[in-house]
Amino acid sequence: MAHLKQQFKDALSSIEPGDDKANAPEAHRLVRDALEADAKLAEYGVDPVLIGSYKRNVSIKRVKDVDVFVRLPDLPSDVTSKDILDRFFTVLHAEFGSDGDGHRRTKRQDRSLQVSFPEYDLYVDAVPARPYWDGETWEIPQKGDEDEWVRTNPEKLTSLSTAMNSAHDGYYVPTVKLLRQTRRSILGSGKKPGGFFIEVATYQAFASGLVSGNDHAEYYVSALEEVSKIINGYVTFGLGVNDPTLAGHTISIRATDDELEAAKTRFAEAAETARDALDEEDEGKAALAFQGLLGKNGDDETVFPMPPGFNEDGSKRASAISAGARTVPAGTRTFG
């Protein structure tokens, strides 16, 4: 059984966003300031807040997207989803214009406006939102129809994540990071389902009470096993993944059938590999397995390091072999 405490700490360090941690809030602030400066949006009570994986501290290197949830509590009911998306585009385009290559920095998305920050190599997604009648949740526009809105509650996920992390002595957030990194490693960066799906599945796994441990290794393996079951349930039986922010709702997942099948297979294999690694007493072999699961970070560096005493291929170094051997060949009954 190998828990590799130091190596898991090192792995978490290597997937922790670096420069992006400083750049992201700056980009976020610029978008927020632009929106707040508009007289029309001010009339609607514009109130932008940070949401998303970055806010919940579950981002992994590198941070590519920062989400701004732009609350408009005083939006008149006659303003359509198309109207508000058009207004956002007008304001942001006026502020950010074009980049050095002449491309517009502001682009329309299905439910938001995306502003690029080439100097930081990241994007800010601004999502307009109007209050739902229950006074607690919100609606965001859905592109495609003149006036279509989708209910959401993103700030709830922030508080739920914080609470779950506290309930598990700070192991929830690191475990989400490790699973997002695993998804990227075994499915590929551009493949679906994405990191958000894994995060919500992990939350559901934790909420089920079946994830536990005393250290990162145990939590990682336990969560990976439960998430694998959740993915299998979804792909095989169509069991949806609960949206913890909206009772009775499930999250929507955009992925092809082939992608879903691949996710099911690879997460099942990953869970088995991880369990075997945890049970393995040779630290080098265990580390090699975890290394395979966690792959490379956004800077193309190996995420999980080899423990001391082992070569890069997981074999024991000569000095480590001698550690358990006779370093005093004379044995006992010596006198000097």
Partner: protein, 488 residues
């Protein structure tokens, strides 16, 4: 091993051990690793730490509830379990957590069984913190002080030597003596760790506490026994403001014949009454004499007609203060001064052996004669005489320009053949060495060859003296450095 390899070795050892602790259910907190040892007497929660010298030092194990585990000779002053004796270092076996935890479990099993077959290490001093007084306190035969009251007087080399007597009522303010009391704790099953523990074992009629509070007693010498062995420690004591007595350990040692001969070897008692004559106390013979005395022989006769020259010193027992003296007197003085033999037990004859009558007398009066003259005529004389008297001598010499030694038992035991000749024909004559003054060329024998030959000679001599000869004819040994020499 480079430093990088060393760091890797140490980091690997620590992590490997910690992985083993995790498997055994230990968890890490700010103070170390916490876990439970299950043993026949129940279960004990312990805290384990890897000290900075790990893996070259075993882990430290402390019961979380210090008083839940009985105090004994097998717990340190700070409560840690005494798990590894100082001489138990075979292969750093504690780098494997399962083996170490098994050892800890065995500790609890032994404790529950009352430590059967316990080795009685006399290490009571472990249970007291050291004093700031770094002087060495020497005591002699403690039975010489039946009243118990003693004093320690300052002496050279930061020593404090024991003497009798209590502190006078009007002692000089300038006296540097420290006054003390000798107490016998008897057989100690559980080591005392405080003054209260000690006081409970001392005859209350002495009222040591009052004397300590009055500052008339500052030192307590504790005699104790463990099993069949007796030990002693010296403690510094003084009253505390709270009405108690503080205790600190002083460095101390026994200055007794027993202490000084305890390291002579197991055969020393058999050698005590033996009489040995050494013919020739030049380089080889001087070291032979010294080692025989250190090994327990306390009746010597030394024969040599030579005088100590400055050039002799580099491979001789004696030092520059002996230059000009006869070799026999110089060696005798050295042995009396440094090896603890009485002057009356060393006879000296300051001329070389020349007559058969003298040889007969030597062989008749001594259990063994060692010939270290390397002189052909003397060797022949002793050999013929020994054969005539049915006695044995040991004849020793450096040979072949200091590149070998030769030891002969003459005549060989049980009719054995003598060792074959061991002279080596030199292909190219070496340049001879001379010193100023009249004389033959001097030998190029290096000092280490002399000492090695002397040690081997003493081994053979001791073997004969206790009737356990090493070899019926003797021994030769090549001491050369370099090319292997061919024998004639």
């Amino acid at each position: 091993m480079t430093l990088t390899e060393y760091d890797d070795y140490v980091a690997y050892s620590r992590q490997h051990f910690e992985e083993g602790l995790i498997r055994a259910g230990f968890t890490e907190d700010d103070h170390g690793w916490r876990g439970t040892i299950v043993h026949p007497g129940g279960a004990t929660e312990v805290l384990m730490t890897l000290r900075s010298r790990y893996p070259f030092h075993p882990p430290r194990v402390v019961p979380l509830d210090s008083d839940a585990v009985a105090w004994s000779w097998h717990r340190e002053l700070d409560g840690a379990l005494c798990l590894v004796a100082e001489d138990d270092h075979d292969g750093l076996w504690w780098t494997e957590a399962p083996a170490f935890l098994e050892h800890v479990t065995a500790w609890f099993e032994q404790a529950a069984a009352g430590w059967p077959d316990d080795r009685p290490d006399l290490d009571l001093d472990r249970y007291f913190k050291p004093s700031e007084d770094e002087r060495l306190y020497l005591y002699d035969d403690l039975t010489r002080y039946p009243s118990g009251f003693v004093r320690f007087r300052p002496a050279a080399n930061n020593l404090m030597r024991i003497a009798g007597g209590a502190k006078p009522a009007k002692s000089s303010k300038h006296s540097k003596d420290r006054f003390g009391y000798v107490a016998n704790l008897g057989n100690v099953d559980v080591p005392p760790r405080s003054w209260d523990d000690i006081s409970a074992r001392i005859n209350p009629s002495v009222d040591l506490d009052r004397r300590i509070r009055n500052h008339t007693i500052e030192i307590v010498v504790l005699i104790y026994s463990r099993g069949s062995h007796e030990g002693a420690i010296t403690l510094e004591v003084w009253p505390t403001i709270g009405g108690g007595v503080a205790v600190r350990r002083l460095s101390s040692g026994a200055d007794t014949d027993a202490a000084k001969s305890a390291r002579s070897g197991l055969l020393a008692p058999e050698l005590r009454g033996r009489r040995v004559a050494i013919v020739g106390v030049g380089a080889l013979g001087s070291f032979v004499a010294d080692m025989l005395v250190r090994s327990g022989v306390h009746n010597l006769t030394l024969l040599d007609g030579d005088v100590v020259m400055p050039g002799n010193l580099v491979r001789h027992l004696v030092g520059p203060e002996a230059v000009g003296r006869s070799k026999v007197e110089a060696v005798k003085q050295h042995l009396v001064d440094r090896s603890g033999i009485a002057a009356a037990d060393i006879a000296v004859i300051d001329h070389s052996l020349t007559s058969g009558d003298e040889a007969v007398e030597l062989l008749g009066d001594h259990d063994l004669v060692v010939n270290a003259t390397a002189d052909f005529a003397t060797t022949a004389l002793l050999h013929v005489t020994a054969r005539a008297l049915s006695r044995r001598i040991v004849s020793a010499a450096i040979q072949n320009g200091g590149t070998s030694y030769r030891i002969d038992v003459l005549p060989p035991l049980d009719g054995a053949e003598p060792l074959p000749p061991s002279s080596v024909v030199v292909d190219q004559p070496e340049s001879e060495l001379f010193e100023a003054g009249c004389g033959s060329p001097i030998s190029p024998t290096p000092p280490y060859a002399v000492i090695e030959a002397a040690a081997a000679t003493v081994r053979h001599a001791v073997g004969l003296l206790v009737d356990r000869p090493l070899h019926p004819a003797g021994e030769t040994r090549d001491l050369s450095i370099g090319a292997v020499r061919s024998h004639e």
